[in-house]
């Protein structure tokens, strides 16, 4: 249990996918303009990540031990199709949920944070529960980062950032400061 707790804290704060691993930067930089949207994108990401962890575990346990060379392709294909299936199911079962989250699903399925999650979880040799917690932590970490970023960006929208700086350059530097602030969590609960 302590192990699972640490996995969660570690991916949420210390090894945040966006701020420490540079994963999921396109949505992080591209969709963080509006708070509302960012939050929903975050939720959708958590969802897809958990599905991914599940798929990766199934693939790793039942298929890839026989054909390790298919890892990358099978991850991509399986994750994309499962998410697509779920998207269709959601659309049928709960149109409201679909409107809230569904539009983001295609955007996320092929991004590097999802693939990275599958690959890291595999490399770390996580079991089912560890993988799921890892995915949850990574997704929540992504949500935390993008929501903070969106808050900052909405605020900055109203202020007089020099035009030369505006845009990706500025967002990257803000991410850098945010990443620096998150360094404060390093070593959390491991000092012993």
């Amino acid at each position: 249990m302590g192990d699972l707790g640490w996995i969660f804290i570690s991916t949420l704060l210390i090894n945040n996918f966006v701020l420490a691993y540079f994963l999921g930067l396109c949505p992080f930089l591209g969709v963080s303009g509006k708070l509302e949207t960012s939050f929903r994108l975050g939720l959708a990401t958590i969802f897809v990540m958990v599905i991914t962890a599940l798929c990766a575990w199934i693939l790793n346990t039942y298929i890839l031990i026989y054909a390790p060379y298919l890892r990358l392709i099978s991850f991509i294909v399986v994750i994309a199709s499962v998410v697509q299936l779920i998207e269709m199911a959601i659309k049928k079962l709960s149109p409201a949920l679909f409107r809230a989250l569904g539009i983001f699903l295609p955007l996320i399925t092929t991004n590097c944070a999802i693939l990275g999650l599958a690959i890291f979880a595999t490399n770390k040799g996580y079991g089912l529960w560890q993988g799921l917690v890892y995915a949850l932590g990574a997704g929540c970490g992504f949500t935390l980062a993008i929501v903070l970023m969106a808050g900052l960006r909405e605020e900055v929208e109203m202020s007089n950032v020099p035009t030369m700086v505006k845009g990706i350059a500025f967002n990257l530097i803000v991410s850098g400061i945010l990443s620096m602030a998150f360094m404060g969590f390093a070593g959390l609960f491991s000092a012993g």
């Binding site: 701020l19 420490a20 691993y21 540079f22 994963l23 999921g24 930067l25 396109c26 930089l29 060379y69 890892r71 990358l72 392709i73 991509i76 294909v77 092929t110 991004n111 590097c112 944070a113 693939l115 990275g116 690959i119 890291f120 490399n123 030369m164 700086v165 845009g167 990706i168 350059a169 500025f170 967002n171 990257l172 530097i173 991410s175 850098g176 400061i177 990443s179 620096m180 360094m183």
Partner: protein, 216 residues
């Protein structure tokens, strides 16, 4: 003939400088930021991307007429993933040290939007020759950006370039450069620098235009 050569050259130069995938188009950032804490890693990642981009551009433009529109993205991804897997295994077999450094980020080349983007925007619509020129340019531009970023981070972060010590023993390394915030901030500042160049150039052009106008 000469004309098409010039065209191909143009495509190449466009990718390296004018439409540099990183500094101008801001594509493919995730796989690059994570590994560019040294010039040599930048080279390795750049070369890996180079190979994947060239290979898939070649295949895609070769097969462009055979692939139906509806499944083209899936086909592109399969092609790209194939090349990435190949690179992964080859690196693991030949340069295990580098592979360890780049680690899990090699498979992530698949997700690099630059590669898929080039297939969609260029290779699937052009001749093999042009597709290769374009891929060469883009890959070279990407490589250039990775090495530049990795180089800066290595110089400040360790006082070295390609592992060669630059400032002597007493150098105080700028640890942040090798850490994630350093990546963000350095790339941000480099983009800022490019914006600044652009602005400067625009001003200069405007001045030139103004003086020419007055001459008339």
């Amino acid at each position: 003939m000469a004309k098409s050569e010039k065209q191909a050259y143009d495509e190449f130069i466009k990718g390296v400088w004018r439409e540099n995938p990183v500094f101008v188009q801001v594509l493919g950032m995730c796989p690059m930021l994570a590994v560019t804490n040294s010039a040599i890693n930048g080279v390795a990642m750049g070369m890996a991307t180079f190979f994947v981009l060239m290979g898939s551009s070649f295949l895609v433009s070769l097969l462009k007429n055979l692939i139906p529109k509806q499944v083209r993205i899936s086909c592109f991804i399969i092609i790209i993933a194939t090349f990435v897997t190949v690179v992964d295994y080859v690196l693991l077999a030949t340069l295990p040290g580098i592979h360890k450094e780049l680690g899990a980020f090699i498979p992530l080349i698949v997700a690099n939007c630059l590669i898929l983007g080039r297939q969609e925007a260029f290779a699937s619509r052009n001749t093999i020759r042009m597709a290769l020129a374009d891929a060469l340019g883009m890959a070279a531009g990407f490589l250039f950006a990775l090495v530049a970023l990795g180089g800066i981070r290595e110089i400040l972060g360790e006082g070295k370039l390609f592992g060669i010590s630059l400032f002597g023993d007493n150098f105080e390394p700028w640890v942040i450069m090798i850490l994630p915030p350093g990546g963000f901030i350095t790339l941000g500042l480099m983009l800022l620098f490019f914006n600044w160049l652009e602005e400067k150039k625009k001003k200069l052009d405007a001045q030139v235009a103004a003086t020419e106008g007055s001459d008339l």
